[in-house]
């Protein structure tokens, strides 16, 4: 039995979720998780721990084998950012950002206006007419994030979005993602295999073990400090990285 039911707007609840693929692979085993509306949660784990599967189940793209997933957001109220930018190569940056609106039947003028605003928000003013092949990896990812946020979703799901970027671009996108999160109040679930990225971004870090994916640690991160570049060299950040690393090591030993 599995079902998706309503939770408070923007909140997510997983109750005893299992996922076994048709080939017998157990991807997720008994995961229960409550995510408060408006929070920033990272899901951290080694490759093959079912992080992506978990995210896709929250989005409703995969149906759990067992258990319940409740989200206070349905379909288009969820924004999804994949590991690759996943843009339409035949459409300009603006048309790519406008895609969700287009699929919903929003009229052209409104679409254009909102896509332009969103592109400006992610720092791509002036690139409205650019084609994906003309953009750098970081810029393409910005377009992808703008597309995910254009319809003001309640929930933003990101699946290792910055893994393929160089460190400079990754740090800038990390900071910009935090700004967008604060401005919009969206609930963020951020899947990553980077201890440092999760420690920099999150209020809370959920650590998973591999095959089958289980939650082995659920760590709260001190949220008082401003997350700017200085934070990356602060003792608090170092301590968080240490705690998360230890939890991850235990997860991999388990």
């Amino acid at each position: 039995m599995s079902e998706v039911r309503a939770a408070p707007a923007g909140a997510i609840a997983l109750r005893g979720v299992d996922k076994t693929y048709a080939n017998g692979t157990r991807a997720i085993d008994g995961v229960s998780l409550e995510i408060a509306a408006g929070s920033f949660v990272s899901v951290l784990g080694p490759s093959g721990c079912g992080k992506s599967t978990l995210l896709r189940m929250i989005a409703g793209l995969i149906v759990p084998t067992d258990g319940r997933i409740e989200t206070g957001a349905r379909g288009r109220e969820i924004g999804f950012v994949f590991q690759e930018p996943t843009l339409l190569p035949w459409a300009t940056a603006e048309a790519n950002v406008a895609l969700p609106l287009r699929l919903m039947g929003v009229d052209a003028a409104d679409r254009r206006e909102r896509a332009r605003q969103m592109l400006a928000r992610v720092g791509l003013e002036g690139f409205e007419g650019a084609w994906p092949r003309e953009l750098s990896g970081g810029m393409k990812m910005r377009v992808s994030i703008a597309r995910a946020l254009v319809d003001r979703p309640r929930v933003l799901l990101l699946d290792e979005p910055f893994a393929a970027l160089d460190e400079i671009a990754r740090h800038r996108l990390n900071a910009d993602l935090l700004d967008l999160w604060r401005e919009t109040g969206v609930t963020v679930v951020f899947v990553t295999h980077s201890v440092f990225e999760s420690a920099f971004l999150s209020q809370r870090i959920v650590v998973m073990s591999a095959r089958p994916g289980r939650i082995v640690a659920d760590l709260a991160v001190d949220t008082d400090q401003t997350r700017d570049e200085a934070f990356r060299t602060s003792p608090a950040y170092g301590a968080t990285c240490r705690r998360v690393s230890d939890a991850l090591r235990e997860a991999m030993a388990a």
Binding site: A59, F82, L88, L103, R133
Partner: protein
């Protein structure tokens, strides 16, 4: 500069050298024109017989163009149907393949008997030869969509129709155009071969019939002149479809982006 040089000047020089060698060989070797005419004689015949050859060229091109159009319509329609329904694909694709692998010369006589109309039977033959590359390439394109993009469309509640229109069809465009370039040449070949088999004469006959006729009358230079026209038509079709491909893909697809026409 060096790009334009290598694209136009280099093949032109090769062509001129070959033609010159041909002309010299024919003249010094004393080869009679009914065995092998020289390029100059062929050119003169082309001009002198233009009144007969031009309508034949138009007739052949007309069949090829109509067959290509039918191949595009049927090929794309079947590709869309097959990718929407696995049952339809399984039931019908084998027959499309049978049609593809059957040598056209062996079924052309039957088609000519059944169709009972020369133009229609030529059209059917040329269509059979031309349609398969469009069908198979378009199917490949429709099925080659990034699965994350499919997930995204699912997330935004786009149904089958919108996913087809906004995702699968544009994604299939480069594949379709690749098939179209193959089919363009095949439509011409199909039109010529079918006419050879039909052997239909008269005022509306095409280049293949003019070649047969010239052969019977031992007008070998005219045969060559007709051949030159068929090659020229093939090259023209190729260039036209390449230009179309460039026009549609240059802004976004790696195969055409950054290339001059």
């Amino acid at each position: 500069m060096s790009g334009a040089w290598s694209r136009f000047a280099a093949p032109a020089i090769v062509g001129l050298v070959v033609l010159a060698a041909w002309e010299i060989a024919v003249r010094t070797g004393g080869v009679p024109p009914y065995i092998l005419p020289g390029p100059l004689l062929i050119a003169r015949t082309l001009v002198a017989d233009w009144g007969t050859l031009a309508p034949a060229l138009v007739a052949t091109l007309r069949i090829a163009a109509l067959a290509l159009l039918a191949a595009v319509v049927v090929g794309v329609a079947l590709a869309v149907l097959f990718t929407q329904s696995r049952w339809l694909e399984r039931s019908l694709l084998p027959y499309a393949i049978v049609l593809q692998v059957t040598p056209i010369v062996s079924i052309a006589p039957l088609i000519i008997v059944w169709a009972n109309d020369v133009t229609l039977s030529l059209l059917i033959c040329a269509w059979i030869v031309a349609f398969f590359p469009i069908l198979s390439n378009t199917m490949l394109g429709l099925n080659s969509v990034d699965h994350n993009l499919l997930g995204l469309f699912q997330l935004y509640g786009a149904g089958r129709w919108r996913t087809l229109l906004h995702l699968r069809l544009p994604a299939a465009l480069p594949y379709f155009l690749g098939g179209l370039r193959i089919s363009g040449g095949l439509a011409l070949i199909g039109a010529v071969v079918a006419e050879f088999v039909a052997g239909a004469g008269g005022s509306g006959s095409g280049l293949a019939y003019r070649i047969l006729e010239a052969g019977y009358q031992l007008k070998i230079p005219r045969m060559f002149a007709a051949l030159v026209l068929i090659s020229a038509a093939g090259i023209a079709i190729h260039l036209l479809l390449a230009a179309l491909s460039h026009l549609l893909l240059r802004r976004w697809h790696d195969s055409e982006a950054g290339r001059a026409l």
